[in-house]
């Protein structure tokens, strides 16, 4: 109960600061408009005006909420203007990219832990791959894949998996190496094979590390999917909405797409947190 109250207080404070910022950032335009019409503008009218402009510098919270409402609840899901439609486009490539990236990350981690050659060679390349700015290579990936006929969801999913696999590799390697010597010695005295050591000891101990990496990975996948929608002037998805909004100066559209993306990310991480809780309970480690 106490945490709900404190969350509400913090959110309320943030919204209040947001309103103040909206008023101050949008006031230049309102004052200029009044000057050109030759009118003097009073404080109350100033505030009301800054909070209801059509193309404000910083949309007020209620403007964003009403735009969100208009484009989700009041539009058919199949309409090209529905935010739910666009969110689903982005979400589907996020999820596919997440699955690809996670599987690749786990396989690489298993290889690194069990094979000395992979242990010494894979990590530097994995780290180097992450130092290239994603905005630079995303267009290249999309153009190359389009030219061989792979279009639509898959190129974006590949960009998502590119950002997602690295935290999974790092987390899983740490997790698979986390058992104490006493636990691995015990299995050695039973003459267990490497596969038995993996399934019975290393994999269960790495679960907490895996879930931590998955949470980072899924947010990275969402970012990858949005970035994948920016370069080629795509027409569908949250990234496309962001781009369209910035072309036409529709700041409210930009902000509503941003808030929607944030909500999708929060929901995905929340689902993973729930799965982690269930998994730990089943493993008896509440």
């Amino acid at each position: 109960m106490r945490s709900v109250v404190s969350i509400c207080v913090v959110v309320g404070a943030l919204i209040f600061v947001w309103y103040l910022a909206a008023v101050s950032l949008n006031s230049t335009w309102a004052i200029d408009k009044a000057k050109r019409a030759g009118l003097e503008i009073g404080t109350k009218e100033l505030i009301l005006d800054t909070l209801s402009q059509e193309k404000p510098k910083l949309p007020a919270p209620h403007q964003v909420v009403s735009e969100l409402w208009k484009t989700t609840v009041e539009k058919k899901i199949t309409s090209k203007r529905s935010l739910i439609f666009h969110s689903w486009i982005t979400l589907s490539s996020t999820l596919v990219g997440f699955l690809i990236g996670t599987s690749l990350g786990i396989l690489l981690a298993i290889g690194i832990v069990h094979n000395n050659a992979m242990n010494m060679s894979v990590m530097p390349w994995a780290i180097a791959s992450q130092t290239i700015p994603i905005l630079a290579i995303a267009p290249m990936i999309i153009v190359v894949l389009n030219s061989i006929g792979v279009q639509g969801l898959l190129p974006k999913a590949i960009i998502s998996s590119y950002l997602c696999f690295f935290p999974v590799v790092v987390g899983m390697v740490k997790g698979l190496r986390s058992p104490d010597k006493i636990d691995t010695d015990l299995l050695h005295t039973y003459n267990a094979t490497n596969a038995q050591k993996f399934w019975k000891l290393r994999l269960p101990t790495s679960m907490p590390f895996l879930f931590a990496s998955l949470k980072v990975g899924i947010s990275a996948s969402l970012v990858g999917a949005i970035v994948g929608e920016l370069p080629t002037g795509a027409v569908r998805g949250l990234g496309a909405r962001l781009l369209a909004g910035s072309y036409y100066g529709q700041t409210i559209q930009i902000w509503s797409a941003l808030i929607m993306a944030a909500m999708v990310a929060a929901a995905l991480v929340g689902i993973l947190a729930l799965l982690q809780k269930l998994m730990l309970k089943r493993m008896g480690m509440t």
């Binding site: 006493i182 636990d183 010695d185 015990l186 005295t189 039973y190 003459n191």
Partner: protein
Amino acid sequence: MRPKIFAKSVDLTFSTNDGPVDALKDVNLDINEGDFVSFIGPSGCGKTTFLRVLADLERPTGGTVEINGVSPRIARESRAYGYVFQAPGLYPWRSIGKNIKLPLEIIGLSKHEQSERVKRVLNLVDLQDFENKFPWQLSGGMQQRASIARALAFDADILLMDEPFGALDEIVRDHLNEQLLDLWKTTSKTICFVTHSIPEAVYLSTKIVVMSPRPGRIIDVIESTLPNERPLDIRDSSEFISISQRVREGLRSGHSYE
């Protein structure tokens, strides 16, 4: 009669950053079937290292070791012994019953056989009501008993125990010592037991091996004259005290008190 465990001129030198360390030097020992052998000595005298050599968890740099007439590696691969560590080492995501099933799963016994053996060894260590509880729900002494049950589950002839009761208090320790002796009499296994405690070594063993450090070597091997029936108050008898004195002299001559 051929000894069950046989060590001749065993050397083990660790190469470390600041030079070689002689963990074991020229260790010779015969252990017969059914013996209860304690290894006692100060920290760093090589007793745990020697136990690990028997278990094939370390390889000696010189000498021969035979267990059941074969090398330690073949003994380990044929699962000739059960090992009990200082810490219980139970997996927290498995219940006590499933923890005991761990070696049985690796060996590949049938599910029916696994359940039967779990019930049998839990009875032996008096933990029959705790099969479905998790390790964090048990006290330290109970967890260690579960660890001993796990080592007994696959019916190996030999039990190697590395200071299993070291982390427990005196009262629990006395209780577990009695239980261990009963277990030994019922199952007639060959037990190698590493300890820091002189009374524990003298109370439990038929043979006491006194070791000393730098380099790790055997100072004395004492054949115990105590009878096989040992109530706890045998620790106040004069025979017990004289054996303890002999152990202490062995430790002193090996510079353990300096």
